[in-house]
């Protein structure tokens, strides 16, 4: 009878140890998968190849808030090009009628090495195409392509056949799995981060 408290204590301690180990190992097992989900294949990345800070943005070219945060993101990256990497990932929201088309256009530009140039143009001109029909937006996107040396026909054909749809859907799939439900959504070194905390958090990492 005297040993009952000791026995109970031993059982509880063992249980706590088993649960603790299980939790630690389950987190370790999930971590690489989560990080892959966050960064994707890093095709649309700029900045440092060996970064201290990796910023990932799930974004939508038709989202006004995404447009609004671009100057800040650009400032953070440009100021620390040797230490910060920025990865753009697509999350075109269904309520934005031309967002997915814009993402496809950006991927077409990416296929000829002009993703970032096209990215900037899409945000700069957002108000010019956001309310157009899909057909008219496609024509507009072909004009933008032409203006930066991408054949208009290449863009039109790519949008018509949705050549890069799988790339966009892959980003959307990862976003969904991560629980992303709005844009812009930022991750800093795999941790979800509010935009108003991003700059300070990056500076903290770079100290």
């Amino acid at each position: 009878m005297k040993n009952i408290p000791l026995l109970l204590g031993t059982i509880l301690a063992t249980l706590a140890l088993v649960v603790g180990v299980a939790v630690i190992f389950s987190k370790k097992a999930n971590a690489p998968i989560e990080m892959t989900r966050v960064v994707g294949d890093t095709t649309n990345a700029t900045g440092s190849a060996q970064p201290v800070a990796t910023i990932v943005e799930f974004s939508d070219f038709q989202c006004p808030a995404c447009k609004a945060v671009q100057p800040l993101v650009k400032e953070i990256v440009d100021k620390n090009l040797d230490k910060v990497r920025f990865i753009y990932r697509h999350y075109p929201l269904p309520q934005h009628q031309n967002a997915q088309l814009a993402a496809l256009a950006a991927e077409t530009a990416a296929s000829v090495g002009k993703f970032w140039q096209y990215h900037d143009v899409l945000f700069e001109t957002q108000s010019d195409w956001e309310k157009l029909s899909n057909d008219d937006a496609a024509k507009k996107f072909a004009e933008y392509a032409q203006s930066m040396g991408i054949p208009s026909e290449l863009m039109q054909q790519s949008l018509k056949t949705k050549t890069f749809e799988q790339r966009v859907l892959k980003d959307m799939s990862d976003a969904g799995a991560l629980g992303v439900s709005s844009t812009p959504t930022f991750y800093l070194n795999g941790q979800k981060m509010q935009i108003d905390q991003l700059q300070a958090a990056v500076e903290n990492l770079l100290k």
């Binding site: 929201l93 269904p94 749809e165 799988q166 859907l169 892959k170 959307m172 799939s173 990862d174 976003a175 969904g176 799995a177 991560l178 629980g179 439900s181």
Partner: protein
């Protein structure tokens, strides 16, 4: 008579719409696990829709296998099961 039969067919279709998969994979939704995040709907709107309870339902199987798989992989609660029709193997979740 023909009208009645037609109505029945329409009704059947509404309950189990176009579930004949055109590709290698068939998707099903585990209703209890669905939280209505709707990422599947955004990725494969020809396959998934949300019902009145904000749960994903299958509205068709006519989509590319890769798109079905990406839609399933987008689900934050792994509520979408992808099955290889020929082998019966569960492709996702693994």
């Amino acid at each position: 008579m023909a009208v009645t039969q037609g109505s029945n067919l329409a009704s059947d279709n509404a309950a189990e719409p176009n579930t004949t998969a055109t590709g290698k994979y068939k998707v099903t939704v585990l209703r209890d696990k669905c939280i209505g995040a709707a990422s599947c709907v955004a990725i494969a709107p020809k396959v998934f829709a949300l019902d009145s309870e904000q749960k994903a339902v299958i509205i068709g199987q006519d989509e590319l296998d890769d798109v079905k798989l990406l839609a399933a992989q987008s689900c934050p609660t792994a509520a979408i099961v992808v099955t290889d029709i020929e082998t019966g193997e569960q492709v996702w979740p693994k």
